[in-house]
């Protein structure tokens, strides 16, 4: 087996291990109370062991891909996002050894699984480095920044657990609405994965020509039925799906199509689940958080930001500036990706201040942690897809 396929097999092993470990943590959470510490210990130990095995396989993926490519595997959207998922697991293991809270695993691992699944929807082949990326700063900057973001993400996981436990879901409140909205957004990511996989299994492909904004003709391949057509699009493929709406040249209708399919699939899955279970998703998850100590979750939420913030500063701002100065001649250029890193940083600075000097504990702090993670994901997904800057990977 060559290096590249060994690498993808290791990633698959890691993926499965994380899924299994999620259920094991579920077992640990169910049995974690004073009476049954023995059984908790057994489940908990097994769960963290499987997680660590998965993490080692994941590291194996990372290293073998590095060897195969000759550069750190953080050079395109698939590689970066996968590395981010891996680091979330790494950060979780770190925090688990400080605080021993199994509920954290129950929520952190599915998020990592979802992120890796999301990553796998993008082109996965190993590509050579374009001149701008040929620098050891690529390795240093991206890995440190992703590590910082991963640790910050654990804060959101703790925040989510805190909220699920402490929001009264029997009363109609804003909080109840928003926590369910967060769940729904997770389902849209699931929808993206399911729709991409379904259409790719069905081998769907259709080519169209269109006129771009500089008034030249291009062809584009859709891998999902075109809900939205590119500007003046004309099908090349026979029997291609006729776009429902045609978009102006400014809009990338192909991306829009995939976003809308994700929402459609995600919504259908979400509604089906709610119909079958006859409950809000947050109400289904709430019992799993009942045995977590609120104060512990609150503390983890703060601690994760404290640990992650300096790492993020170093990776996403300082190393980024050093590299930008070497590659683009200026340490700061207000490129959208840079700006969003700055926004993330300012947001967490506000989080720390409100917590330390305004006493924003508990729910407020937990909400901020969840919002922080949303900003990080926005930078990862939306800025890459929508706002194209210097950074936007292929």
């Amino acid at each position: 087996m060559d290096m590249a396929s060994l690498s993808s097999n290791l990633l698959f092993i890691a993926f499965v291990a994380y899924l299994v470990a999620t259920f094991l943590f579920g077992g640990a959470v169910k049995s974690s109370n004073a009476q049954s510490t023995k059984s908790f210990d057994r489940w908990g130990k097994l769960a963290i062991t499987v997680t660590i095995i998965g993490f080692i396989a994941n590291l194996g993926y990372f290293i073998t891909r590095w060897v195969a490519a000759g550069h750190a595997p953080v050079s395109n959207l698939f590689e970066f996002t996968t590395a981010f998922g891996m680091m979330i697991v790494g950060a979780f293991i770190l925090i688990y050894y400080i605080y021993k809270a199994p509920a954290l695993g129950l929520f952190a691992l599915p998020i990592a699984v979802l992120i890796i699944a999301y990553a796998s929807m993008f082109p996965k082949e190993i590509s050579p480095l374009i001149p701008a990326l040929k620098s050891y700063w690529l390795t240093i900057h991206v890995i440190t920044a992703a590590m910082g973001e991963a640790i910050l993400a654990i804060s959101a996981v703790a925040g989510l657990i805190y909220l699920l436990k402490n929001i009264d879901l029997t009363k109609k409140t804003k909080e109840r609405f928003w926590i369910e909205a967060v769940m729904y957004v997770l389902f849209i990511v699931v929808g993206f994965v399911v729709s991409t996989v379904s259409f790719s299994v069905a081998n769907y492909s259709a080519e169209y020509t269109y006129i771009s904004k500089d008034e030249t003709q291009h062809t584009i391949e859709y891998t999902m039925p075109a809900l939205f057509g590119m500007n003046e699009s004309v099908a090349i493929t026979d029997n291609a799906f006729e776009p429902l709406v045609e978009m102006p040249p400014l809009v990338n209708a192909k991306k829009l199509t995939s976003v809308v399919w994700s929402i459609l699939f995600g919504t259908v899955i979400y509604l089906l689940l709610r119909l079958i279970l006859r409950k809000r998703i947050s109400s289904i998850l709430q019992p799993l958080t009942k045995k977590s100590n609120s104060q512990l979750m609150d503390e983890i939420g703060y601690r994760a930001v404290l640990i992650g913030f300096p790492v993020f500063t170093l990776g996403a701002l300082i190393f980024a500036m050093i590299w930008a100065h070497e590659a683009w001649s200026r340490f700061w250029g207000w490129d959208p990706k840079e700006v969003w890193a700055l926004i993330t940083w300012l947001f967490y600075a506000v989080f720390l201040h409100l917590r330390l000097t305004k006493g924003w504990h508990g729910k407020k702090s937990a909400w901020l942690a969840v919002i922080g993670f949303i900003i990080i994901m926005f930078n990862l997904i939306a800025v890459n897809l929508i706002i194209a800057g210097l950074h936007s990977y292929a």
Binding site: P128, S294, I318, M321, W328
Partner: protein
């Protein structure tokens, strides 16, 4: 305002909430609190004490964390708005009307609105920079307002603190445990092994560790202030140079912004990955994407002219060094860096022509025009010569009979030429373009026949000097030290006292990470048999305790 004298005899500055020495609450408000606010040790801060003059009011405004956070949130929101559409410096237009037209053409009415509101150049707007300036002021004032009183009261604190202080701590316990002198000694021992600084005064113990982490925020704020100061400095002349230059192969040009440096381009190299030579793992990617760029490189020689030599005077140059400028690998000299930023391939450099008889195509000689520097006259065979009357580098057509050139770049060269021959000593006029020839003054006998071209590549280089970098680096470094100091360490204190009535009191405080300080206290309690404590803030544990006591 008056100083406050505490029951213990310590004289505290006006505005103090907790006696600097013994910790007694000094005002009614503090007395009523169940858990005391320990953020600045209840010390007197200027902003909390004075509010009369204008200066007081400005000081209080900027020292407020609430205000500071609103400033940061405003910057954050503004920064986000600036990413909705590309900023002007990413737009392919240089003058105002082209820029406005660009936003209108690409983004419609929204683009026009964005441009009109000035959002297209948001980061250099006065109000955005003003916000950043306010952030700087806020950092300075808020830090000064707190750090000095905090420093004083941490220094002055006594080992023995008043019970009214201890019972208002979040972690607090009192009881008639079997605590003797011996167990106090054991506690001291254990605390020392947990790396606490232990002080003893009669029956009171104060164990403290990590106090230096309290300075973390102030150190990191200092770093930020230095950084912002560095950014401001670049507005001063001499600190910052940002120029661009287009350098053609074979050309030697003055490097703008420098003091007498010249660069000669020895060649531009553009490489792409090929499937054969590159590692076969890249095959799939190359198949999918097509060509993938591998290298952009300008090979240059650097020269230094005499002091104060300027553009156009490339004489008396002394050779300094050869270098290859690549993306990510600028050439560096004398505080300057020159970066490989852009390129144009195959720009026309020289064109070779023949003077021919139109009918027989007999040649009367060849000449080569250097497009960067066309000669007025080219002497050919005996009696034949060609005069270049006018040169249009980037010919776009005739407007009312007058030839137009849209730029000085030789994208589409055209020449107005006079051909002299023995038959036509007064010359025949011809307008020569790349593919065709126009004879504006009637039928000619001779013609200019195009033979061949030479092309060359052009490198787009950016010249940069930034003397503020060391200051920015220093600011960044100090920020990192401060933020690590405040985040990875924390300030923990444990108080143990044997009261006169035989009861024992324990209390603990930390600025963060309560679990650790409780764990420390548990270890000490185990050995010294201290009374049980309560975390007066931990609702779940309190519930549990109540549950247990009620036998649920």
């Amino acid at each position: 305002m008056d100083k406050i004298v505490c029951a213990c005899g310590n004289v505290n500055p006006a505005g103090t909430a907790l006696c600097e020495s013994c910790g007694r609450p000094l005002n009614e408000e503090t007395k009523e609190k169940k858990i005391v606010d320990m953020r600045y040790e209840g010390s007197a801060r200027r902003s909390q004490t004075y509010n009369k003059t204008i200066i007081d009011k400005v000081w209080n405004f900027f020292s407020s964390v609430k205000v500071g956070m609103w400033i940061i949130v405003s910057i954050l929101v503004a920064a986000a708005i600036g990413t909705i559409l590309p900023q002007v410096f990413y737009v392919p237009a240089t003058n105002e009307s082209d820029i406005a037209a660009y936003y209108e053409r690409i983004y419609g009415w929204f683009g026009t609105l964005y441009y009109e509101l000035g959002l297209s150049d948001l980061y250099s707007s006065w109000w955005f920079q003003g916000l950043v300036g306010m952030l700087g002021i806020s950092l300075v004032i808020a830090s000064l307002d707190r750090v000095i009183p905090l420093y004083k009261s941490l220094k002055k604190q006594k080992t023995k603190r008043h019970i009214s202080f201890l019972k208002r701590q979040r972690v607090y316990g009192i009881g008639k445990a079997e605590v003797t002198e011996d167990s106090l000694l054991k506690a001291e021992e254990k605390l020392k092994s947990l790396k606490y600084n232990v002080k003893r005064e009669g029956n009171a113990i104060l164990a403290e560790r990590g106090r230096f982490s309290r300075w973390g925020p102030y150190v990191n704020h200092l770093g930020l202030i230095i950084f912002l100061f560095g950014v401001m400095l670049r507005a001063l002349p001499g600190f910052y140079v940002d120029e661009t230059m287009w350098l053609r192969e074979g050309e030697t040009l003055y490097v703008p912004g420098t003091n007498g440096y010249f660069l000669e381009s020895k060649g531009f190299i553009y490489e792409t990955y090929s499937k054969e030579e590159s590692n076969e793992v890249f095959g799939d990617a190359i198949d999918r994407v097509g060509t993938i760029a591998k290298n952009y490189q300008t090979d240059v020689a650097l020269y230094k002219g005499p002091e104060n030599s300027v553009a156009g005077h490339a004489e008396d140059l002394t050779f300094e060094k050869n270098a290859s400028i690549q993306v990510n690998k600028p050439i560096k000299f004398d505080n300057f860096s020159v970066f490989q930023m852009d390129f144009r391939l195959d720009e026309l450099a020289k064109m070779k022509f023949q003077l021919q008889d139109k009918q027989t195509q007999q040649s009367f000689g060849e000449f080569t025009i250097d497009l960067a520097n066309p000669q007025p006259l080219y002497e050919l065979n005996e009696g034949y010569k060609v005069e270049v009357l006018d040169y249009y580098a980037d010919f776009t057509g005739f407007e009312e009979g007058v030839p137009q050139s849209q730029s000085p770049l030789p994208n589409n060269p055209a020449f107005l030429i006079k051909m002299y021959s023995p038959e036509f000593p007064k010359g025949e006029t011809s307008f020569v373009m790349i593919k065709e020839t126009v004879e504006p003054l009637g039928e000619n006998k001779h013609k200019i026949a195009f033979q061949s071209v030479e092309t060359r590549d052009v490198s787009g280089l950016t010249v940069r000097k930034d003397l503020t970098l060391p200051l920015l680096a220093l600011g960044g470094l100090i920020f990192m030290i401060g933020v690590a100091q405040g985040s990875y360490w924390n300030h923990r204190r444990i108080w143990i006292q044997l009261l006169e009535d035989g009861q024992t009191v324990v209390a603990a405080h930390t600025n963060k990470n309560w679990l650790s300080v409780k764990r420390d206290l548990d270890e000490v309690s185990k050995i010294a048999h201290l009374p049980e404590y309560l975390d007066q803030d931990d609702l779940d544990s309190l519930d549990e305790k109540v549950d247990k006591e009620e036998g649920v």
